[in-house]
Symmetry: D2
Subunit: 250 residues, 4 copies
């Protein structure tokens, strides 16, 4: 029905350049790995952008031609320039989908879209994360079973300071005793946002079949909807003339 | 990605047989009109079923081969047999989509799925209904603008005794002074339900382009998601063995 | 501002009569234990009702004078008469609060109010249940910290076939590897419903301070709101006269 | 159960000083009128603060001693200093209630808490606004009937660019043909936010009984919940030690 979903995968791309161990897991960067499995889908096309490119690789031209932006970030959330974060923010309100991965919860764009601090408990102990499906009719779980597991990952735990999700998809169980809302959807303006917890850089999480499946599904879910003649979200339009005449006896 | 969505359009088919005026608007029945425009879509196939057929046309074989059931009902909600309503109910919990139109809000199946009375204020005055989009990123509004109008229809007004919608898509403005949650989504078990108010039998509402568009979009949204090895919703499975070993010091 | 909240605590009261071990934990029955700690609150008054009383102790007079009904049930959900379940159902839609405990998830009233099967995974292994607060601004968590634990209980696990909660309060972590939406709120008609997982009969769970605190808070939250001239929820009122005159050029 | 709710009513207080007509309606300012009716409640105490006071009257000491902040703003949203808006924002995440009135939808604090533009259609034609109750079990509608009317007001219409409300309380009907989500609740961090549309400065709206009732109810609903040992929302706490020991075979 629709042309291909045009995805841009954004990554800080710092860990991979600094740590040989991480580079071995992701020789083309985390962005390269994600773009790679997205490109295997006939209805998706993917390009990449990284922090150290001019304008972080997110020029107005790139953003205008992006249907869904996938965002991986961790150590350099504060280095993203405010004017770029601002452009991404308005693109989301005007319809672009946003898929935020792992520590992208503390990125400028996600925090601004959520309206909360987005902080959580955390621990690095390489423990198990089991993700339970709590929305089995939702397109983001297409192809999954009742749960799947990440064998070794970083723990994120509640209280996760997010607005109540519009759609709660996964609840995570952590071996060390915590739980987490590990997959959540929100509507913002004309755009859609999905947050997905899996993805610590020191584990080969984006090579795992179920994780790839969720990200592919999320890209399809987050793709823009074509509405006609809908206003730019930055406007608060003024309508001097009522649509309906006021009845005579008013 | 997916084969065609298999739709069954169910209708009481009583008004059309009793009233020549209604038969003129819908010479093939309301079900025929709806199946007709659904069939123009390359990714949808549609058949019909009606109240006076054996088992109301909803045999187990038909239901098992239905991805999305569209339901129009009005005067004969009480004539639907409990065992058929029961079968439809469980099919929805196990993944079949359900699109409930107009006075189908008082059908056995919808009321059971909602858990509430589903009653509302109402009036027949042929007045105007303007439907405002309040979820512009939702796939059910694809192709629409900020609002559209039904020129003449029956009024349904708040308080509409439904559970809070999981996704509120349209809010209706009625000329006589009422509002209505005119388009609402819910998740139930593995299935999805969409209620859409437009559709009184004495007006040619299902010939209107925007109404057709919404129903087509709703069929696509409500189509089942393929999960693997998910239990039948009628079961409460017993797991004697924990997934995780209890740690030694517990 | 308001007179006392009038609570009726309903219990099957079968386990306690059959098992000396359970009777030792709850010498006055589970209903007696719950009514006991509710009565320590100056703004709450509590009475009890049980399955084997005439009309299950839930006469129209009792229900009309109940602001919040607390419901504990397990082995005899099917013995509750349909006409009593029906009366309770309509009282909830017309404003009575309902607090459903533990295996009351499979009671006729709760299932009817939810519209789903309310089934879940389960296991009896006496394992640990840790309840994490995910709605720290909600009145039901007043007095609690980030989490609390039930040392030994029955496991209930996802997928829990409930409608999406209007307010998700607690997410439970189970030692054996499952998670559960352990505390959930819904609005139904003019009434409010809270489901709370803790409470297996073979453990002294209702003697635990945090559990008592949650039930007290839930009773206050579920107490009816006084609206004026609001219709009975069983009615779908007919309004021949529009509130607003139709404008002349319509 | 609880001491008095300590309310601070904040107002720009510009319209009243510039326009004799507005000053006649609100001789003590809009803040004075609101604080006045709040003070008639035995469980509420109220003080006021305005834009032109030092630190806009919102010193750290004032904010720390405010349970619920009521916010009226219109022409000078941009004059609120960022550092003050920032302090208010964090106080809300840490538990303070916020009741935002009328054109406060475009205030810095509300927009930051929502994560969206909060823009809407608008028109000044002195038309009628009828507010329908769609959550009759919610404490904010205590004492109301099925709807109430503001005889003459400014129109705000959909699409209103807000996140999906956690609780939608009122849907507004406007004489000129629009609808609006006129009363909405959100949870943010440990705090609660209520937005209420009525209140244009040129009409005596805050002298109307139903409007006063809603604001009193909203103050009670938004009052903080006492949780114990809950972290500051600005923190993302680090937990090196798991709560649960990792089982030996992991």
């Amino acid at each position: 029905m629709r042309d291909k979903v045009r995805v841009t995968v954004w990554n800080e791309y710092r860990h991979e350049k600094r740590s040989p161990e991480i580079a071995m897991i992701y020789p083309e960067g985390i962005h390269g790995a994600i773009a790679g499995f997205l490109r295997t889908q006939p209805d998706i096309e993917a390009r990449t952008a990284t922090l150290d490119e001019p304008e972080h690789g997110l020029t107005s031209e790139v953003l205008e031609n992006t249907d869904v932006l996938v965002w991986w970030a961790h150590m350099a959330n504060h280095e993203v320039k405010d004017e770029i974060a601002d452009k991404v923010y308005w693109r989301v309100l005007n319809g672009m989908g946003l898929v935020v991965l792992h520590s992208g919860n503390l990125s400028k764009v996600f925090r601004r879209l959520m309206g909360t601090a987005c902080s959580a408990r955390w621990r690095e102990a390489g423990e198990k994360h089991r993700l339970w499906v709590v929305a089995p009719g939702h397109p983001i779980v297409e192809g999954l079973g009742e749960y799947f597991e990440i064998p070794h990952t970083e723990m994120y735990g509640e209280f996760f300071d997010i607005p109540r999700p519009d759609e709660l998809i996964f609840i995570g169980w952590f071996q060390g005793g915590e739980v987490f809302r590990s997959g959540c959807c929100w509507y913002r303006g004309r755009g859609k946002v999905f947050y997905f917890q899996p993805g610590h850089e020191t584990f080969p999480i984006y090579h795992q079949r179920e994780v790839q499946r969720v990200i592919v599904n999320a890209v399809r879910w987050a793709a823009p909807v074509s509405v006609v003649n809908f206003r730019d979200m930055a406007e608060a339009p003024w309508f001097p003339e009522p649509i309906e005449p006021f009845a005579s006896d008013q």
